[in-house]
Amino acid sequence: MLQRLPLALAAIALPLALRQAFLVAPAEQKMGVVQRIFYFHVPSAMMAFLGVGLCAVLSALYLWRRDRRLDVAAEAAAELGVLFCTIVLITGPLWARPVWGVYWTGEVRLTSTLILWLLFVGYLLLRGQAGADRDATARFAAIVAIVGALDVPIIYKSVEWWRGLHPKVLKVSGGGGLDPAMGRSLLVCSLAFLLLFAALFLERLRLGRLALEVSALEDRAARIEEGGGAHA
């Protein structure tokens, strides 16, 4: 029951987040109502990075400990990372179109997110295409996840320089110049997304563990079957 707590909390927090984003937060002066997508876009980006970071840490632990439960958790984290990355990539252009007049501008953070998304979609494809040997799949996926996570800051830096933002010229800070009321709304929405992340993660973990148990039972059944046959 305690495992379902984040799910219940998320169910309460998400409507509150909606209220914050649409009713409580003040309208932005220039962008107007469109700007409110910000309260979903930014928390999604945070959760995407959380998913990817968590996946890399769990992958490293898996390579060290070789415990399948760690692999299941890493996969769950990667799936959530891709999910929230997708939300970022949908909400980004939706926000950009009315404000800048185009869907895709090659903005640094959005472009980096796209590359990150491609990396971890590749990760999921690798998991899907690997052979029957579950442990080999887990090792390969873990390596790709660690390389991918190490790559994230380098990708960001390279895209930033590519866009002509020369080093040491300007530093874009996350929520700089944000109205305090907007900041509060962002905080509420971020916490709600964090709860959603935790709830989905735990549910996915539960599924993964069940799948592990099933395969363990299949192992036992196969052994009993074969053993019985050989020693009859």
């Binding site: 590749g122 295409q129 040997d133 080999a136 090792r139 390596i143 990708i155 830096k157 080093p167």
Partner: protein
Amino acid sequence: MSGAGATRETGAVHDAAAARDPRTARGIGMLRGALAVAGKDLRAELRSPAQAASLFVFALLVVVVFHFAFDLTAAEFTTLGPGILWAAILFTGVLALDRGFRVEREGGRLDGLRLAPMAPSALYFGKVVSVCTVMAAVELVLVPLAAVLFNQPFGGWMARLAPILLLNTIGFAAVGCLFACITTQTRHGDLLLPVLLFPASVPIALAAVRATGHVLAGRPLDRFAHWIALSGAYDLIFLAAAVLLFDHALDD
């Protein structure tokens, strides 16, 4: 030592003793192992020139296709040329990587390499060296040919390009050898390798294209030194990471 060799010829006695000598048993060291692997790969490349030639033809083909697709003038080469050049290099690199590891996967040759008394990273560095050498050979042919195709004067820019080619080729091969080792053990791995490798190589692609562009435009080093630093950092980070990770890509 053991009396086993007593009945054999003297050479055999020596051999048997050497095999049991704990010092020889400890291994052959990273550098010698890597050089043995790279030497073997390059020798095999030279023995099958037709296969190696297909890499060169493919690289040239990419450049030619872009040449027609964009219908470039010589002046435009400075802006679009670097992208075309690096697209050809990286596409060819994927083929070289896949080939380099597929040959070890087939027939279980990887088992033979793994049974050598050396650290797994020796195999990794051997492959990085051989893949980089193959890619460098392709680049050596590709750059002058591209210059002819796009009506560029031969000159000092080619020499100034060399370190940029080298650094970015190493970076691409550093991650590439790790990923190719994985994908060649996977079903449909030949498709999976570019899918995994190209997003991961974005920093290399961007750094290479920008630095090459600056060289083509004849700008001084301090305008693009940060790109070279980025490539160098990428090389070091992923060569180091691969040393730690490569064993896990092999160990069943």
